[in-house]
């Protein structure tokens, strides 16, 4: 059975020093969003899939932004990876489905991406569950102890 | 009618209608021509007319001496237009497929960008010839409605084909439909205008060669 890679489609990769790359423009946009974050605290987000990136632009952008200290792997209906780039406040969020295929990719300019945060409502629910579990343990302890 | 509906009509009933009118018209013209006949030549033939007739069909493809100097635009434009029209018609792959669906056989095509360039040159040539027809007083005097109609129905398929290829105008489906409809218009008009020359040029050349050849004269 032939694999997809055996269909002889030749992909032309633009050389590193080629003129038409979207990355410089993208970096300017990230800069503008970051400045906005500093000035007013407003978050920004760029949908990487909506841009006409050339093959290799992804890698070029990642190389230019560098790697930061945070690399979080989430398990939410498929994997999601949240990494802070070498530029503080610029995060790279990759959403994948249950089969590991990337379904969305964002650059988030924020103090911490929304998806990492815990929602206050969930905290209240969590507290209720914990209290219920503690109560259970108490009861078991009583029946065991005596 | 929406784009898809128009395209389906053009590829289906429209084509049936156009081909029917085209063949009907051709037959009427040819049968009449044949029945009108020629007066019997009672003189003794010096040579059989067929050979000289056929030779003239080919030899008249070379214009008479001095033609280039006398009418350069018509000379060059005529060749370029006819060559361009025939090559874009016969060697563009989608056209070859259309003809294959009718004839049952096809042939290799040319690269699309060549057809594209040739198409543009052909369109420009046609426009130049029309402009000359307007600006030259003698030509304008001689021009009749039939000439303008013939020019228009020849120009429209070239223009609409070029526009569709380059995704100009409205959406592609509609442009393709318009292109096919323009070709159908051309088919319907051919038998009733001077565009019949695409068939009769062979008859006319043969006839000239034949009657002269019968007398032993080479033309």
């Amino acid at each position: 059975m032939n694999g997809l890679d055996q269909i002889g489609v030749r992909v032309v990769t633009a050389p590193d020093d080629a003129a038409p790359s979207y990355v410089p423009a993208l970096l300017r946009e990230i800069e503008a969003l970051l400045a906005e974050l500093v000035a007013s605290g407003r978050n920004g987000r760029i949908d990487l899939r909506s841009l006409p990136l050339l093959p290799g632009d992804d890698a070029r952008l990642a190389a230019l932004l560098g790697e930061g200290e945070v690399d979080a792997a989430l398990e939410v209906t498929g994997g999601t990876r949240v990494r802070e780039t070498g530029v503080a406040g610029v995060w790279w969020v990759t959403h994948a489905n249950a089969d590991g295929e990337t379904v969305a990719e964002f650059i988030e300019v924020t103090l911490v991406p929304e998806i990492l945060k815990t929602h206050p409502q969930d905290v209240r629910v969590g507290l209720t569950h914990l209290r219920a579990r503690l109560a259970e343990q108490m009861q078991e302890g009583e029946s065991d102890g005596e | 009618m929406s784009g898809p509906e128009l395209l389906l009509w053009a590829r289906g009933p429209g084509l049936q209608f156009a081909v029917a009118i085209f063949l009907f018209g051709l037959l009427v013209r040819f049968v009449e021509l044949w029945l009108l006949g020629r007066k019997t030549d009672l003189s003794e033939a010096r040579a059989h007319p067929m050979g000289p007739g056929l030779r003239t069909v080919l030899s008249r493809s070379v214009p008479m001496p001095g033609a280039l100097k006398h009418a350069p635009l018509v000379f060059l434009g005529g060749y370029i237009f006819h060559f361009g029209f025939l090559v874009t018609l016969l060697f563009y792959v989608p056209h070859i497929h259309f003809l294959r669906s009718i004839l049952g056989f096809g042939w290799p095509g040319l690269p699309p960008f060549l057809i594209d360039v040739l198409g543009l040159v052909t369109i420009a040539t046609l426009i130049a010839l029309l402009v000359q027809r307007f600006t030259d007083p003698v030509r304008r005097f001689l021009t009749r409605t039939d000439d303008y109609v013939a020019w228009t129905v020849t120009f429209l398929p070239l223009l609409s084909g070029y526009a569709a290829f380059h995704r100009l105008g409205t959406d592609y489906t509609t442009m393709l439909a318009l292109h096919i409809l323009s070709v159908e218009l051309l088919l319907i008009v051919i038998p009733f205008t001077k565009l019949m020359h695409m068939f009769t040029f062979m008859l006319a050349r043969w006839y000239n060669g034949a009657i002269a050849g019968r007398k032993g004269v080479r033309v």
Binding site: N97 | S2, V31, V93
Partner: protein, 366 residues
Amino acid sequence: MANNETVGETLASRGVSRRSFLKFCATMTSLLALPPGMAEVMAETLARTRRQSVIWLSFQECTGCTESLTRSHSPTLESLLFDAISLDYHHTLQAAAGDAAERARTTAMKDNAGKYLVIVDGSIPLKDGGVYSTIAGHSNLDMLKETAAGAAAIIAVGTCATYGGLPHAKPNPTGAVAVSDIIKDKPIVNVPGCPPIATVMTGVVAHFLTLGTLPELDSLGRPKVFFGDTIHDRCYRRPFYDQGKFAKTFDDEGARNGWCLYELGCKGPTTHNACATVKWNGGVSFPIESGHPCLGCSEPNFWDAGSFYQALSTKTLPLSAHAGAALAIGATVGAAVGLASRAKKKAAVGKHARVTADELEKGGGA
């Protein structure tokens, strides 16, 4: 149908985390080409709204559209959509049957009058009073008109519901028509395809749920965000088309090298859909990438548009009968015209005046 619950409550009760839902909304905003910041807005809005009542009407269809929507791998993001809506009526997916099912529909219509969403797949047969497709003794026509009356909007899913589809193909024995041929007073979104791409169907519903409006539509009522481009415009094999490199059979050198499939009948140039970008099965592939020419399944009357395996430029109807008749009639008329012209010529010759040389000399002069 607990559609008094908010979406958020339903998600919580089904163990779908808030983060999963946020991820779903982020993916949807990307797919719908909405501003990326909309994801949180979408999530917050959806979580707080009552689950949207949706009535799915299946008429003269093959159930392929439902299959496309539900046959994605689970759990996927698309399946989250089913948590955000209250699917009050769906033949294949509902547990109830018979009268109970019909009661569910009418109750939902009453409880959510003016606000429920109607999704229709399958065409509506009109011939012979609509007897060729009935549910619970009611013709599809009646059920559509009754259900559409109180709907907020109608989404016609699949080529059958949008254009009539396969039942509508020649000779259309059941008199099948599209939803838009019957309902004229409600907003209708056409999502054609045989079947439509699952993500496209979800995206349209998601747009309505979160923004309360229908996406921008083209002249055939299709969302421009998914149906704005043709397959040909976004096909990865386009460079081969431009260079004139075509596969001639399904297994030749050209086919194996992934050349353009125009000669094998690809209808990509005239077909509007998202197959070349969004692709199928979560972005795995689409027909052309798998080596098969596009059928044009999201365009009207694609079943009658000539062979799937003949190029787009070929004729769709036979010519021999018309040609034969034309030649015969032409020959007859030509003969009549020819003979008439000959007679005219002979008569003219007969009328020629005879002149002698003497007469000429006398009359003439120098």
